[in-house]
C-alpha cells in the first residue's frame, strides 16, 4: 500500500511542551562538534545579545522529528517507515532556540506527490512559544521508496 494522498493539508494537534534545557543544548553542540561558547556559556551568549545559551541552527530537528512521528505512525497515512529516506530539510528561524524555552510544535502535511515510483511527503513543523509567538519553521521532505525499487 502506498502513501495516502488525502493526508495532504492535514494539521495534527499541537505537541506537549518541549522544554529546552541548557544541558541538552550542550549535548547536541558537542555531538555535532561545535565548540562555540554561545552553546554552553550563558555569559558568552548574552554578549551576543541572546537571553541565555542558544542552540545550533539544526537543533530544531529534535523537536521537528518528534512531531513528524505523528504522521509516520498514523495508520491512515500509509507510510512504511522501513522505506523512508530523508530527502530534504529546511529551517527558518525567527530567533534562535534558547535555553529555558517552552516550545509547542504543530505538524502540517504540506504535500504528497509521486516522483519516479517514490512518494515524496513534505511536512512543515511550526515551532512556537506558549504565547503563539513563532520561533522556527522546519520543512522536511521524506522519500518513501516504491515497492519495486
Amino acid at each position: 500500500m502506498g502513501v495516502n494522498p488525502e493526508i495532504a493539508g492535514r494539521v495534527y494537534p499541537p505537541s506537549p511542551f518541549y522544554e529546552v534545557g541548557r544541558e541538552k543544548i550542550r549535548e547536541f553542540a558537542e555531538a555535532i562538534g561545535s565548540t562555540d561558547p554561545a552553546h554552553t556559556d550563558p555569559a558568552a551568549a548574552r554578549a551576543l545579545g541572546h537571553r541565555d545559551v542558544i542552540a545550533p541552527p539544526t537543533f530544531a530537528v529534535i523537536i521537528a522529528q518528534r512531531s513528524e512521528a505523528q504522521v509516520i505512525n498514523d495508520p491512515q497515512a500509509g507510510i512504511d517507515f522501513s522505506r523512508v529516506v530523508h530527502g530534504e530539510e529546511r529551517f527558518t528561524h525567527h530567533r534562535p532556540i534558547t535555553g529555558g524555552d517552552r516550545l509547542v510544535a504543530t505538524l502540517h502535511v504540506d504535500s504528497v506527490r509521486e516522483a519516479g515510483g517514490h512518494a515524496m511527503v513534505t511536512t512543515r513543523v511550526e515551532i512556537a512559544e506558549e504565547s503563539g509567538e513563532p520561533v522556527s519553521s522546519v520543512v522536511s521532505t521524506l522519500v518513501v521508496r516504491g515497492e519495486s525499487k
Partner: protein, 142 residues
C-alpha cells in the same frame, strides 16, 4: 574574535574551507543527542541487509557539520536565520579507525541590503561525492 560585518562582506567571498572527520563514535553520539536511533547509522549488519555499502551518517549530522563552517565564520550561531539542504548521497562511515571525512567549502552568493543578510552557498563532499544539494544558509550580519 572579529566578526564580519554586513558592509565588509561581498558576493563572491570564499569562506575558509574545512575538512571535518566523521567516525562511528560521532554517529553514535549524534544518535543519542538527536534521538534518531535508526540502525542504518550504527549497525553495520543492518545497513548491509537493507542494501547500503556500510553504516551511513545521519543526513542531519552532515548538515549540522557543514554549517559549522558558517557559524565559525560569522561568530554567532544565532545569526543563521535560514538553512536548507537536500541529501544527495550518503556519507559512508566504515569502522576502520579513520571513518569518513566531509570537505566543506562555501561562498557568499547574495546580499540583501534591507534585511542585512547574506546567502552563503555550501558545498559538501565525501569520498568525491557531493553529499548535500542546494545547501544554502541565510546569515544576518551586524
Amino acid at each position: 574574535m572579529s566578526r564580519p560585518t554586513f558592509d565588509e562582506v561581498a558576493v563572491g567571498d570564499q569562506l575558509p574551507a574545512v575538512t571535518y572527520p566523521l567516525r562511528r563514535d560521532n554517529l553514535v553520539r549524534y544518535a543519542g543527542a538527536s534521538g534518531d536511533f535508526n540502525p542504518i547509522h550504527w549497525n553495520e549488519r543492518f545497513a548491509v541487509e537493507v542494501g547500503l555499502p556500510n553504516v551511513i551518517a545521519h543526513g542531519m549530522l552532515t548538515m549540522a557539520t557543514a554549517v559549522r563552517l558558517v557559524t565559525d565564520w560569522c561568530g554567532d550561531p544565532g545569526a543563521v536565520v535560514g538553512y536548507g539542504a537536500r541529501f544527495t548521497k550518503p556519507v559512508v562511515v566504515p569502522d576502520d579507525g579513520t571513518g569518513a571525512t566531509v570537505e566543506v567549502s562555501a561562498v557568499v552568493a547574495a546580499r540583501d541590503e534591507q534585511a542585512r543578510t547574506v546567502r552563503v552557498d555550501l558545498t559538501a563532499t565525501s569520498a568525491g561525492d557531493k553529499v548535500l544539494g542546494r545547501a544554502q544558509a541565510v546569515v544576518r550580519l551586524p
